[in-house]
């Protein structure tokens, strides 16, 4: 019924794992923040170092700056970076979905312009999907882009665009035709230059006190016509294709990894019965989720459609990411080691976002239910 075929990581992926670990050991300065959440550390210099090693855009064609590596190799690099708590958020979205989107749907000129810069760790992208009145119901977006001479005139507001105040570009889902009977029709994707186009980017403070996500306001913002990605009106099919990549990776279950590691450290070499139980429970979940995610990497490598499998990984992984701080804190005395407390606080404060970003738990359960034939 639900098929997650066994997949072993090939030898070259394990060789690469050693290279990534060596690299991380040689750059301890970038590991000071030690947070496994993929959206927690925006450090362009670190992204550029990864780009120089060919660890961004790994599966892409060499002609566009990629390394033509397998999804397994990409998997290993991403999980090693996350587990180490490396700062990966600058290039994360561009690497995970903007690059693949442009390679699949973009014009040749767009591919030549943006993709090699992404792979070099020098062009960072934000997502422009949600709006003040469009969250889970993405097809209801109201931001309009109207043809005006040799370009589009954009009006509307995008919301929750992570790092839009730091990144170079956004791929925005906009309405290019008025809504008709088919609400998925008439949507298109446009590349916005966040540094040069006339847009207003306003950071929004989150409950952790950080400013990572943004409101991005377009007021008669003009972008040239060659920023349209794919065919006009094909936006819905394009955004849904992005989501398969977005939902099955190790970032969907490793956000709380540092809490686990610090729990192991705080519990020490002679843990209590309860501590062993909690550590073992969490380890069993990490091991299982990881095998599921590797299985999906194998399916992606074979070009399979993974919408339901990705939703299953994200559903389990995100719930687990919330479970980790909940059970770890109770396995330690309430006044405990600072490293645990720091990792714990960071993760607990970020935890509400785990089951919201990339599709809420409720939306994912709907996707799974459809896969089970219930709707």
């Amino acid at each position: 019924m639900l098929q997650f075929d066994h997949a072993s990581l090939p030898a070259e992926a394990e060789t690469l794992r050693g290279e990534v670990r060596d690299f991380l050991r040689s750059e301890p300065g970038f590991l000071s923040h030690r947070n496994s959440d993929f959206s927690s550390g925006h450090v362009p210099e670190f992204s550029e170092l990864l780009g120089a090693r060919g660890w961004i855009g790994m599966t892409w064609p060499r002609a566009y700056g990629g390394s033509e590596r397998s999804f397994f190799e990409r998997y290993v690099v991403t999980e090693e970076l996350l587990a180490a708590g490396a700062p990966v958020s600058a290039h994360w979205i561009a690497d995970r979905q903007s690059g693949p989107l442009l390679l699949r749907f973009g014009s040749e000129e767009q591919r030549r312009t943006y993709v090699p810069r992404i792979a070099a760790g020098k062009a960072f992208f934000s997502i422009g999907m949600s709006e003040p009145n469009s969250g889970s119901d993405l097809a209801s977006v109201r931001t309009r882009a109207e043809l005006d001479g040799d370009g589009y005139r954009i009006n509307g507001t995008k919301l929750w665009s992570t790092d839009a105040h730091r990144n170079h570009f956004m791929i925005a889902l906009v309405r290019t035709e008025p809504p008709g009977d088919n609400r998925h029709a008439g949507l298109s994707q446009l590349i916005i230059d966040l540094k040069n186009d006339d847009v207003d980017v306003r950071p929004i403070r989150n409950i952790a006190g950080g400013e990572d996500f943004n409101e991005v306001v377009f007021k008669d913002t003009f972008v040239p016509r060659d920023r349209l990605v794919g065919e006009p009106g094909n936006g819905w099919a394009q955004v849904t294709s992005e989501l398969g990549y977005e939902r099955s990776g190790p970032e969907r279950f490793l956000s709380a990894y540092r809490v686990f590691a610090e729990l192991v450290r705080a519990a020490g070499p002679a843990p209590t019965t309860r501590q062993r139980e909690v550590i073992g429970r969490l380890a069993a979940h990490f091991m299982t989720l990881r095998r599921m995610s590797i299985s999906v990497a194998g399916m992606l490598d074979r070009g399979r459609d993974v919408v339901v499998e990705a939703a299953l990984v994200k559903e389990l992984g995100n719930n687990f990411e919330k479970l980790v701080p909940e059970v770890a804190r109770l396995a330690l005395p309430s006044a405990t080691a600072a490293a645990f407390t720091t990792a714990y606080r960071d993760t607990q404060l970020a935890s509400p976002s785990f089951t919201l970003r990339g599709g809420t738990r409720e939306i994912l359960r709907g996707v799974i239910a459809r896969g089970l034939g219930l709707r």
């Binding site: 794992r17 002679a270 550590i279 359960r365 799974i368 219930l374």
Partner: protein, 332 residues
């Protein structure tokens, strides 16, 4: 990778024989002799022999199908015992030692029909302090020739016989990792059983109508089933990974993770399946409980979740925080 034809053949036999009448009769103590004979006739006991050409993984693939059909047999014990003894002719089950009575074994699945019982050395294999390495060592299992008539009957909460039997010492056999291999059997049986329970719940939700529509159309029900499906998927992957690790140095850790994780899934999925089935699934007449009670029973046999978690946690702690990731991130 197990031959799909072998699995199809196993599935056909279990489907033909395993039904409500058989489960009820077995719970009354009647051994499913026809099903057993069909398995013997089709070579499913002979395949357990070490020189049969079948891998240990093939036995587990068959046990998963047996779990899917709640086959009321001591199949896991019989197949593993046949493997260890090189004897598929003598009906053999496996039990735990009783410290004061060397010629008695406890908690023996279908001890009442076994001609022979292998006795695990430990009375309490999971008593603290215990490390995975202790359970991975070779142990000597005593072989008892038993008199089925003298068995004291007991049962687990699924009503499966778990008897105390006495006999005469007939020899011994050296076995590597016996407790681990038995725990893996329960993990894969649960994985098969979980598939069935999810399917029953999905089918029932599609058939049962309330408020003018199938209850599967209600979002609350869809979300419960989606959550159950995720648990079932995790259980499949965890148990398959442990089977794939058979014979490798990772096996102990992967098995510990699998038994703990599948056991967690068993509790969640059984709860959801019953909620979806409503009062109908709470009746003895319905078939659901033959599966859910087995899930509740099997998660406790050969080590419950907490016991395997403690063993796994001890491994991680011994390595320390900076090596914990290396322990989790294995190639398999």
């Amino acid at each position: 990778m197990t031959d799909p034809l072998l699995l199809e053949s196993a599935e056909r036999i279990f489907r033909d024989y395993a039904d409500k009448a058989l489960w009820d009769a077995a719970e009354q103590g009647t051994f499913a002799r026809d099903l057993w004979q069909a398995l013997v006739d089709n070579g499913f006991t002979a395949m357990a022999l070490p020189d049969s050409g079948f891998a240990l993984g093939d036995l587990y693939a068959v046990l998963k199908v047996a779990g899917q059909y709640a086959a009321p047999l001591p199949l896991a014990e019989a197949l593993l015992a046949a493997r260890w003894l090189g004897d598929a002719e003598t009906m053999t089950s496996i039990g735990l030692a009783l410290p004061e009575a060397p010629e008695t074994a406890s908690a023996v699945p279908w001890g009442r029909v076994a001609e022979q019982v292998l006795v695990l050395p430990q009375a309490e294999p999971f008593a603290d302090p215990q490390r995975l390495a202790d359970l991975s060592e070779r142990s000597t299992l005593r072989v008892l020739s038993t008199d089925p008539a003298a068995a004291a009957s007991g049962s687990n909460l699924a009503g499966e016989p778990r008897d105390q039997v006495s006999g005469t010492l007939a020899g011994s056999v050296e076995v590597a990792q016996p407790v681990l291999l038995l725990a893996l059997a329960r993990a894969v049986q649960m994985a098969g059983c979980l598939n069935q329970v999810l399917q029953l719940a999905i089918d029932y939700a599609g058939e049962r109508a309330q408020f003018g529509r199938a209850i599967a159309k209600f979002q609350a029900v869809q979300h419960m089933l989606a959550a159950a499906a995720a648990e079932v998927a995790a259980a499949q992957r965890a148990s398959d990974s442990a089977v794939a690790a058979l014979g490798s140095e990772r096996f102990g850790a992967d098995l510990a993770a699998a038994k703990a994780r599948v056991g967690e899934a068993a509790g969640v999925v059984a709860e959801i399946a019953h909620q979806v089935h409503g009062a109908m699934g709470f009746t003895h007449e319905h078939q659901l409980h033959h599966f859910t009670r087995r899930l509740w029973a099997w998660r406790d046999e050969y080590g419950n979740e907490a016991e395997w978690q403690r063993l796994l946690g001890a491994e991680v702690s011994a390595l320390g925080a900076d090596n914990a990731w290396g322990f989790i991130a294995t190639p398999a």
